[in-house]
């Protein structure tokens, strides 16, 4: 009695599943470090346009950021891309929410000063703020 129901539903949901997986894949790809357009009221920090990369050679566990790249467009900070020291998923993923949080804050305020450090991840927060400040200093040249 249920065989035809099962077959039809499995086909239908199988197609839906494939669609959801593809959508999730592309949504995930964009969710990492997207470029942020500055809001209309944001004061222009007046930086030099271009990409400014700060690299760290330290490999201590509470200094997980290997490289930070700041992108400036029309004087505005529009993107910050972070690379981690290792490909270890644990430290990578433990740090990602912290970095995303600080990054969003920095892009909104167009500054590396007065960032709210994430509790439980002060090492990461500090390194991010220092690296970003160094990149901004480069852009001020």
């Amino acid at each position: 009695m249920h065989k035809s129901v099962k077959k039809n539903m499995n086909i239908g949901f199988g197609i839906a599943a494939a669609g959801v997986m593809v959508a999730s894949y592309f949504a995930a790809g964009q969710s990492q470090f997207p470029t942020v357009e500055p809001g209309p009221d944001t004061p222009n920090p007046g930086l030099a346009d271009g990409e400014f990369t700060i690299t760290n050679d330290e490999t201590a566990q509470n200094r997980p950021i290997r490289a930070l790249t700041l992108t400036v467009d029309n004087g505005y900070m529009v993107n910050i891309v972070v690379e981690y020291n290792d490909e270890n998923r644990m430290s990578h993923n433990l740090n990602t929410p912290t970095v995303l949080q600080l990054r969003a804050e920095a892009l909104e305020e167009q500054s590396a000063e007065d960032l709210d450090f994430v509790s439980g991840a002060t090492g990461t927060s500090q390194q991010f703020a220092e690296s970003l400040q160094a990149a901004i200093d480069q852009a001020r040249g």
Binding site: K6, A16, A17, Q61, R89, M90, P97, L100, G123
Partner: protein, 497 residues
């Protein structure tokens, strides 16, 4: 000793009420909805892993590959555990949509797979992290702080699940313990599943690739993590509601009490229970409850019984074969004792009918649901046949009700009396089908041709219902298959747990 009376039913009276075939569509819809819930949970879990950059980082390095696949194994194990709880939550959608037989079969299979997925999850992650850290097991942990504590939870939870489930799946143990001991052991595994949840949220890589929406105890919580939590809340919420809250609420709402206990056959009793507005329970003839009779010794122990007459607004009746365990205590029940029930459960009801005729197989106390179905359903004289299988004449249950159906409505009653035709009774063993008694002349029993006679070539017009000992039902079902009765016309469900 078998009275193989061949049914001489009259041709159908066209004015006679027909089976309510709309029930089939309802059963199909419930099945479809149940299957949809399963699919949605699977898709959601897989999507979480993909959205959490599971694919993008899959091939960046070998240890990373192991870590990502290990993470996926963890997600799969978790969603399988969700199904384990959800299927056993007594959520009516699954009880009716899948039925107890499918649920129990799937429960075993899913349990097996979640066991191996948990082991794979642990092995792949330990391997992946150690390779990445040059086999220094302590290197990866500094800086992860107190989040690591949630891993302790995971280990404790998994141990609880494994100990409980491995213990329970040992056949020797399962046959020795009562349903209730078995039940409460299972609850240990539920608690185990529950305490593995924090490590999924706080260490799960898939939940850590977004800007957090908030912080819990200082730790970031993402939208995806909240979504995952909602899935768990649905699962354990369903279990809490249908396992505990509804039965307790019903206990107070219906105030069920024993009104009468009387012998039924040489080895059986009838228990009649009363209560307020019992029709609001929505019980259908053919369904069953889990019963506890409070105020007598061992009241915490429960037993499964089907209702043995169509439920009315103030009466429920069960017939009980006194065989041991709880049923011996039941002979001593007194009127006025309060009754705690869980149910109604089971998908067997008249709704499943597709044809005009009914062929009912009752083994022992299985007479209860069969007679209540016959009483409840519409059929013309001669269209319904009841086969009562008993070891001895005086054991036959519900004789009064059956005789009333024979006299008033034209039920064909076939009494099949004699010791089981199995090697365990060598004096009565003649080989062949084991669901019938042995032939007196010692020739093997040919159940298939007897069934063909009863079905009379109308395989699509007859619905077969069975209730009795599982081994006996299996034997009947095997012969029904050989006699050409399609699976979807055979309706059997055991109180398997």
């Amino acid at each position: 000793m078998t009275e193989h009376a061949s049914p001489e039913y009259t041709r159908y009276d066209t004015d006679f009420p027909r089976p309510r075939v709309h029930g089939i569509n309802k059963a199909k819809a419930m099945y479809a909805a149940s299957l949809a819930v399963v699919w949605i949970f699977c898709i959601a879990a897989a999507a979480i892993w993909v959205y959490g950059r599971g694919v993008q980082t899959l091939f960046t390095s070998f240890p990373r590959f192991l870590q990502n696949v290990g993470g996926l194994a963890g997600v799969v194990a978790a969603v399988l555990m969700m199904f384990q709880v959800l299927f056993m939550s007594r959520f009516p959608l699954f009880e009716y949509g899948f039925g107890r037989d499918i649920i129990v079969r799937v429960h075993k299979k899913v349990g097996y797979w979640s066991f191996w997925m948990i082991l794979a999850h642990a092995a792949l992650l330990v391997g992946g992290y150690n390779i990445a850290a040059d086999f220094n097991p302590w290197a990866g942990w500094t800086g992860t702080g107190t989040l690591l504590a949630t891993l302790i939870f995971a280990i404790v939870g998994v141990l609880a699940i494994f100990i409980a489930v491995i213990f329970l799946s040992l056949k020797k143990i399962k046959s020795k313990i009562s349903y209730d001991v078995w039940y409460w052991w299972h609850m240990v595994s539920w608690v185990g599943a529950l305490i593995t949840v924090p490590h999924q949220i706080f260490l799960g890589a898939s939940f850590r690739t977004e800007v957090p929406v908030g912080y819990f105890l200082g730790y970031p919580v993402t939208r995806l993590a909240i979504f995952w939590m909602i899935m768990w809340v649905i699962v354990f919420g369903a279990a809490a509601v249908w396992r505990f809250i509804v039965p307790v609420a019903n206990y107070f709402k219906y105030g069920m009490r024993v009104v009468e206990v009387k012998p039924d056959g040489a080895r059986g009793i009838d228990v009649i229970v009363t209560g307020k507005h019992l029709d609001r329970l929505g019980t259908k003839a053919g369904q069953f409850f889990n019963w506890r009779f409070l105020g007598s010794k061992g009241a915490i122990r429960s037993n499964w019984f089907s209702v043995s007459m169509p439920p009315t607004s103030d009466r429920l009746r069960i017939c009980v074969r006194v065989v041991g365990d709880g049923t011996q205590r039941m002979a001593k029940l007194k009127p006025g004792q309060r009754v705690f029930v869980e149910g109604p459960y089971g998908r067997i009801s008249g709704d499943l009918r597709t044809g005009h005729r009914m062929l009912m197989f009752a083994g022992g106390a299985g007479a209860g649901p069969m007679v209540s179905l016959l009483t409840d359903q519409d059929w013309a004289p001669g269209e319904a046949t009841l086969i009562s299988r008993e070891n001895a004449h005086e054991d036959t249950m519900m004789v009064e009700d059956i005789e009333r159906l024979v006299n008033d409505r034209g039920l064909v009653w076939i009494k099949s009396i004699g010791l089981p035709n199995i090697p365990a009774f060598p004096d009565n063993y003649s080989g062949g089908s084991s669901w019938l008694p042995a032939n007196e002349d010692g020739t093997p029993v040919d159940g298939v041709s007897i069934l063909r006679e009863w079905v009379a070539g109308e395989v699509d017009n007859v619905d077969v219902f069975l209730c009795g000992p599982p081994i006996w039902m299996d034997s009947v079902i095997a012969d029904l298959k050989k006699a050409g009765v399609p699976d979807h016309n055979v309706h059997a469900e055991s109180f398997v747990f």
